[in-house]
Symmetry: C2
Subunit: 86 residues, 2 copies
């Protein structure tokens, strides 16, 4: 049930974009957001899940095992969603 008022789908979309683009700035562009917004979205997501999804430095990023698993779930859910909202 709601009350978990954060926008979980937006977070999943941004996370997927980060994974696919390989950087926060590129993901932000793809999502038409600022890098700041993308960064904060991922941080919030990790806090909510209580898990690190991406190991990142200013120059490189790598998915954690949980990140890889969560990315697969995201793809699945987002494609189902696309169908549902079509």
């Amino acid at each position: 049930m709601p009350q978990s008022s954060t926008n979980r789908l937006a977070a999943m979309e941004i996370f997927s974009a980060v994974v696919e683009q390989g950087s926060f700035s590129a993901a932000a562009r793809a999502c038409r957001l600022t890098p700041s917004a993308a960064s904060k979205a991922i941080t919030r997501l990790e806090q909510r899940l209580g898990t690190k999804l991406i190991h990142r430095s200013t120059r490189q990023m790598q998915l954690t095992a949980e990140g890889r698993w969560f990315y697969e779930r995201c793809r699945h859910i987002l494609s189902d969603l696309e169908e549902a909202e079509r």
Copy 2:
């Protein structure tokens, strides 16, 4: 991508509750919301989808064909989501 800033998952959860409970007030209780919030959530959802999901009067409600279809999609997505966030 975001910018569709509405909380689509919350809407799906509320919609599912309405279907399962058979009324907006009961669904609101189940979701720990006011009937007002539930009503507005479904209205927003229908507007966003551009489809009527529920034919409703003050005394009865019935799913449209689209509503039935969308409900099935919701169940599927929400249970996948539960797994993803677990």
